[in-house]
Amino acid sequence: MGNSLATRIESTNSTLDLNATAENVAESNNESNQKTIHTSLINFDILYDFIKILEKFCIEHHVEAKTEFKRPLEWSSPFLRPNLFNSGSVSSGTANNGNSTSNTQSNWIVSNQKGTNKSVVSSTALKSDGKPFFQLIQQSIPSTKNANNSSSIFLARVDNFDQLNKVLKLADEHKLSELQALIQVNRDGISTILGLPSGTFSNNEVDPLVIAFEALNKDTNPKKIEQNQKLYKLSLILNSYDLQLMKTAVNVLEREKFIDVQKVSEELEMLKAFCGKDQKCALQSIDWESAPPWRQVFGEICYVEVRPMDKDHIVITATKNGFFINKGYLLDEKGNERLNYEALDDSPVKPTLTDLLKSYSPHFFNTIDKQEYLYHPDENLISNIGGAVAAEGSTAHDVLLHDGNLTEDEHEQGEETGTKKNERRQTLIVKKKNKSLSKKSMTEPSLKWRALTLNSEEAELKQKKSAKSKMSADQKVRHRNSNAMGNSDEKSAAGGINGRKNSDDKKNGLNKMNGHNFEEEYSHSESELSSEEELTEKRQETSEFPAEYYQIQKLVKYLRCGNQTATIIAICSLLDFDLSNEYNQSAIRDVGGLDTIVNLLDTNDPKCKIGALKILKEISKNVQIRSAISDLDGMQPLVELLKDPNEELKCLAAETIAHCAKNSRNRRSVRKYGGIKKLVRLLKVDPGTNEEKVAISGALALSTCSKSAKNKEAIRAVGSIPLLANLLKSQNESILIPVVGILQECASDENYRVAIRSSGMIKFLVENLASKNEELQTHCASAIFKCAEDDDTRNLVRKYEGLTPLVNLLDNLGNKELLVAATGAVWKCAQN
């Protein structure tokens, strides 16, 4: 039964080992025989997770947690002292030689051997062989001056996870350091627990679980078999925890690749905890200020002012690519302090702040790895910036911890991973909570800058949210307006209202009569688009970059710093990639290729423009790319290209707009830059001629643009109706589909319905119902559905014998959209 607990500890141990090894590869190894665990965020995270898992394990598998280890885990404890075990208990028998007083409440027995002046702590819980599960033995070092407690070592020995958990709790805020000491000595903890030869679990060649299974099955003694089964169960559970721990560790490692605001602030918070006047501290002080927007353009995040113990104070620039020492604060001619942003000539660029400080300050180098992680219990208040609450919370929590019983609440927190942990860490390490939190919020650059330079996903999201709320506000206003108009209609004969409003009123009345609110339909189509934007940035953070990423990065480099020829070559090579692949699309964006490509649209070279458009057309099928294009204001050059004499350019530009305009912001920009007029001009061709290609692209672009109400109005205002009617005569399906697409989108507008009827388009719509192409059929049926609002149209549909094909379409069970459109059309026509 105690097995599961043991397994859990084992699993955590092995992960820690793995990670510690990974760390050691990256960082310099200490020359001592013991491998030490370096001071770093990752290690802190791992240790922290370890503790969490240990607590969780002891709660969830309290039976298994009591499983006895085959061999005990032993370590020399840096913080556990006998007096810790006294707290809250009846005082131990210091006076009686060899005597001991047991403390039923605290589960510990503290005894003091007077003669040797040695303290021994043992647990009240006893193993099967009668020895205690936990023992803390004081051993004096012979060489040092005796009778001095500080010169003696406290050797701890633990035999199950339950005890380990309790002991670690006593260490309170030194928990992590205690655990660190334990793991440093027991690098292969699971093997020890299972009684296997050491190194089994760090040897990757054979699955350790198999070895464990074989080893545990060797015993034939029935008593031992039972015990072994427990142990094996424990090892299985530990294994699963192990994987869990590994996963979170990998997540953290992954983030190491690029530096962002969050990472810098986290590292700073960690270092802040190591500041002080004392010689043991690594630094005197560390402080920071965020980079001004015009520096953020260069990828700089913040400036960190550091006062090391042994050298002059320096100012460090944190950039996206690393940390370097800059020239610091200088007095300008007016006597103001100005930061000189340039890098100091001999300053190296290091991937982490710790590395840079190590290379700068020998004292820091010597002390940093001796710093201990302080364990502070996590709180719910992180989100509250109010400081007083935070202070109270932490004490309350301490009490909880001492209690030894974890509340449910805490238990839940233990299960939470990822995002919360970061917040946790902030409160964990730092004592000056308020200060740090307010600092943190200061470092967040303004939304605009972030979107531009840091490409922060959060910022985009926030922007989107605000955009969305604005939009919904718009809708509300519109609703209110329409209601007001409806009211005025009821009250008076609409004498003072001009013609435009009048027609609106009529529409409202009509809609109400039919029980079908078209206003709602608009908002439906618009909320669709905003929901599209909401799904943005679901992009999973890929743990590794495929080979293509680096090739794309190289090509974008040539694109940027070559002349036309190199640009053409790079574009052609980029076109060879599978641009419909999401990874490649985001790779192009991430390496800054999108800006370059959009900029290329402004150049004079038609070949470059064509190439750039070809890429853009493909990648703009991606939702995120579309929104990135709108961030770059990419619609402006695209709209400009629509009037280029080169037909290929025109087509490509229109097709790109067709993709981009699925994004609402892009739609707005197209209208703002006068793109609607230019697009409609593309439709001005005779059906059946070579120039039809241009018209197809134009119609495609318009059909996506027509998703928003203002664009519908704009499309009509520039006189598109006769052109559309003209194009409907074509026999070419590829042009009919977008044209009818525009019509069915716009038919929700009363003006359009009138225009469609009066320009005789109903006839063509009915004829095309018999088309072979389902998409065309769907568009036609949906257009008829929306147009059949009034009697005249319904009569026309009947006159052109449109009812039979409509009813025939109802047989088409496979295509739901088609079915919806056809049913709607039949329903409307049936009202006649």
């Binding site: 190289k554 090509l555 480099k557 040539y558 710093c561 070559g562 002349n563 036309q564 020829t565 190199a566 053409i568 070559i569 790079a570 574009i571 052609c572 090579s573 076109l575 060879d576 070279d605 038609p606 070949k607 064509i610 190439g611 004499p645 080169n646 070579n690």
Partner: protein
């Protein structure tokens, strides 16, 4: 010196009569009075000003392609025939511009030569970058994988991706520049003409293919003959 007749030109090239007239006027404007030939600096001016070629190496290449008898001057016949290719010829014919040593293939070395200036200075590992570009082009153009680009490779690759035409440097005129050169200066009603040109180009697209390859090989023959026979005797009488 007898010039080739307008009828002959209409027959052998794709130039129309007004185009020929315009080109003749251009030639007369550029040519020296006595010799009726265009010298190298003048021709380079024409390329730079009208066609926007800015690479010295490529300007020389174009000049050498025009100068069939290698006498460092371009005479009327050479000018007209080559302008026809330059302005209206198909891409197969234009490969010659990039073929530095005249072996009908573009080798890696030739590519390197042509691309070495195309990365902006200051980029680290400039040389590697150029080599990389050469590899990239070769991957795109060398369809038979023999490490060099032949006429066949060139033709089939470009028919798939016309952008590659300029992959070795920009020296060929764009359609906008061509129509401006041929029509804007010659005629006032440029718009209708440019439309005609466009449709003419499309019509010519396929049928011309076979014919042009023959023409281009003829050119190469001429070029070689003159080169082997030496330049001197032919130039001397003119002066």
């Amino acid at each position: 010196m007898n010039r080739i007749s307008v009828e002959e030109l209409i027959k052998t090239t794709q130039l129309s009569r007004p185009e020929i007239e315009h080109l003749t006027a251009t030639f007369n404007g550029l040519a020296q009075q006595q010799s009726e030939k265009i010298d190298r600096p003048r021709f380079r001016d024409l390329l730079a000003d009208t066609f926007g070629v800015d690479d010295s190496l490529l300007m020389d290449r174009v000049f050498r392609c025009f100068d069939l008898d290698s006498d460092n001057f371009i005479c009327y016949d050479e000018f007209m025939k080559n302008m026809a290719i330059f302005l209206k010829g198909k891409y197969e014919e234009k490969l010659k511009v990039y073929d530095l040593n005249g072996d009908k293939h573009i080798s890696k070395e030739e590519m390197y030569q042509m691309l070495k200036n195309c990365l902006v200075k200051g980029v680290e590992e400039d040389e590697d970058g150029v080599k990389d570009l050469v590899e990239l082009i070769l991957k795109k153009l060398d369809e038979d994988r023999d490490g060099r680009v032949s006429e066949m490779d060139w033709a089939s690759a470009i028919s798939k991706e016309t952008l590659l035409m300029e992959a070795f440097g920009q020296c060929l005129p764009t359609s906008a520049v061509i129509s401006k050169f041929l029509y804007n200066e010659a005629n006032s009603n440029s718009r209708s003409n440019s439309k005609r040109l466009r449709s003419a180009n499309e019509d010519l697209f396929l049928p011309v293919l076979r014919q042009t390859t023959i023409v281009s090989s003829k050119h190469v023959h001429l070029h070689r003959n003159h080169a082997t026979h030496g330049v001197g005797p032919q130039v001397a009488p003119q002066h």
